[in-house]
């Protein structure tokens, strides 16, 4: 796959992909979603964020792409200091990140291919490159046969695959995947994981949040485990 628009950074990039230091986040002034979180992810790494329902996985990922700000602590992603990033620069960072949302966020009034095209148009990709990239990504996730279906015509698992495809189609440097297998059966989940690993082999950094500790442990990658907003384990 050729990176036409965003040349990949040199492999031995000195800055880590993700660097979170002493991050805390209180919601509504009294609900501690995250407490004193620190960890770093080098470029090219594959890291699981493990944790039960409400442990703070989604909140942590949202900090990484600037959808939320820490109350204290610092967050650096791909070399940018996210919380202090001016509104005008946030798009530049987000353009390099592929996000799989826990709630899919598909556009109901666009087809599967339309949802992927929408993203490429939004970041101003050269029009002649779009159809090829869309088809390639859909093929990779095994949903090319649903290319022209509307989201409501898809099963839950198929929708989830489309939302994964939408994150991949940008050919990002960093993938943040939030519970990307919640609606997919065990065999499908392993497939998704293999696709993520494949991207990772080619140099993409992957951070995947999940409550499925079996899946994470069986893949023998580093796991950062959250519990009630604190890092309770970081191994692998």
């Amino acid at each position: 796959m050729v990176r036409e628009l965003d040349p990949a950074p040199p492999r031995a990039d000195p800055t880590p992909a993700v660097e979170v230091e002493n991050v805390s986040r209180l919601y509504g002034g009294n609900w501690p979603a995250l407490t004193d979180i620190s960890f770093r992810v080098e470029r090219g790494d594959f890291v699981f964020i493990l944790g039960a329902t409400g442990a703070g996985k989604t909140t942590l990922l949202r900090m990484l792409y600037g959808a939320d700000r820490p109350d204290t602590g610092s967050v650096r992603v791909l070399g940018w200091d996210v919380p202090t990033l001016a509104a005008g620069h946030l798009p530049e960072l987000r353009k390099r990140i592929g996000i799989v949302f826990q709630d899919f966020k598909l556009l109901a009034d666009r087809t599967v291919a339309g949802n992927l095209e929408f993203v490429l148009r939004a970041i101003n990709t050269r029009p002649d490159l779009i159809p090829g990239r869309v088809n390639e990504t859909l093929t990779r996730l095994g949903i090319i046969h649903r290319r022209d279906a509307w989201p409501e015509e898809l099963s839950g698992g198929e929708q989830q695959k489309v939302s994964i495809a939408r994150a991949f189609v940008k050919e990002p440097e960093l993938i943040l995947a939030d519970e990307p297998t919640g609606n997919i059966d065990p065999r499908g989940s392993t497939d998704i994981l293999n696709i993520l690993k494949d991207y990772n082999y080619r140099g993409t950094t992957v951070v995947m949040a999940t409550h499925n500790s079996d899946l994470a442990l069986s893949s023998r990658r580093r796991c950062v485990t959250l519990d009630a907003g604190r890092v309770v384990r970081d191994e692998g």
Binding site: R94, I97, K105, A122, I123, N124
Partner: protein, 282 residues
């Protein structure tokens, strides 16, 4: 962002709520048409008043036995007088009849023509001010053979008053119509923002620039305004053409009206969009 994407985006937005879009555009067209008609009427009346002031005629009514030619020649020698014209008693009655129109039946019962003959006096272009007018009138009244002097001064004053009222009304109409058009553009764009909030969210999350997110809405409001302005301009021209056919022939200012309509509509539409997007930033 490519122009074709932009336009297809705007088309999507418009067709999503076609009925609402048509209705609000229609209201914009009505507002801008009103604005245009009032503005043109004001300009027209102002021109007419200026012209009337130039062409003002004083009527010097003759005493029953007076010799029109003698009086006319004496009048011609008064300073400031440019031309004179004799109007006989019969012509005066015919004029009155024409002026009264349907009401002229009241004249049918006259036993004899009660209107006297008169000499109509036109002043020179440089001497048509209110003071020169009063001066010439005073001199005319003193001439032998002249029974009474009537000037258009009062009519002119009335015209001036109408012009003032019309100008004020026009200013009010311009202000209100413009506000209405801006408000409509605002509400069009705001409802598009609401309808497409999901798309906006995703665009922002995947890294679209501020411009790429906002441009389609700016264009939507601007295009609606532009379209309304052009439609209003055509409507105004149509009404003018009808008026011209029914009343007097006058030149149709096609170019200026279309240009003004387009520019004004575009500007107001863009302002409304800008307000709505300001809303988005909060």
């Amino acid at each position: 962002m490519r122009v074709s994407w932009l336009l297809s985006d705007v088309r999507r937005s418009v067709t999503r709520n076609r009925a609402g879009f048509l209705m609000t555009t229609a209201v914009q067209v009505v507002c801008l048409t009103l604005l245009g008609l009032f503005a043109l009427a004001s300009v027209g009346l102002a021109r007419f008043t200026a012209e009337a002031r130039r062409q003002i005629e004083i009527q010097a009514f003759l005493e029953p036995g007076a010799d029109p030619a003698a009086v006319e020649s004496r009048i011609g020698r008064i300073a400031g007088v440019a031309a004179t014209r004799y109007v006989s008693s019969e012509e005066a009655l015919a004029d009155l009849r024409a002026e009264l129109g349907a009401d002229s039946t009241v004249l049918a019962v006259l036993e004899a023509n009660p209107l006297p003959a008169s000499i109509r006096v036109t002043l020179a272009a440089g001497a048509a001010g209110p003071e020169e007018l009063a001066d010439v009138e005073r001199k005319l009244a003193l001439l032998p053979g002249v029974a009474e002097v009537f000037s258009g001064a009062e009519t002119l004053a009335r015209l001036g008053r109408i012009l003032r009222v019309l100008t004020l009304t026009t200013l009010a109409v311009i202000l209100l119509s413009s506000l209405a058009v801006i408000f409509i553009a605002f509400s069009t764009v705001e409802s598009s923002l609401r309808a497409r909030s999901r798309e906006i969210e995703i665009m922002e999350l995947v890294g679209a620039t501020r411009t790429a997110v906002r441009l389609p809405f700016i264009v939507e409001g601007g295009l609606q305004g532009l379209f309304s302005g052009l439609a209003a301009a055509l409507l105004v021209l149509l009404l003018l053409a009808i008026a011209r056919a029914l009343l007097v022939p006058f030149p149709l200012p096609v170019g200026p009206v279309v240009a003004a309509g387009a520019l004004l509509g575009l500007a107001l539409g863009l302002s409304g969009s800008a307000f709505a997007l300001g809303h988005l930033d909060q």
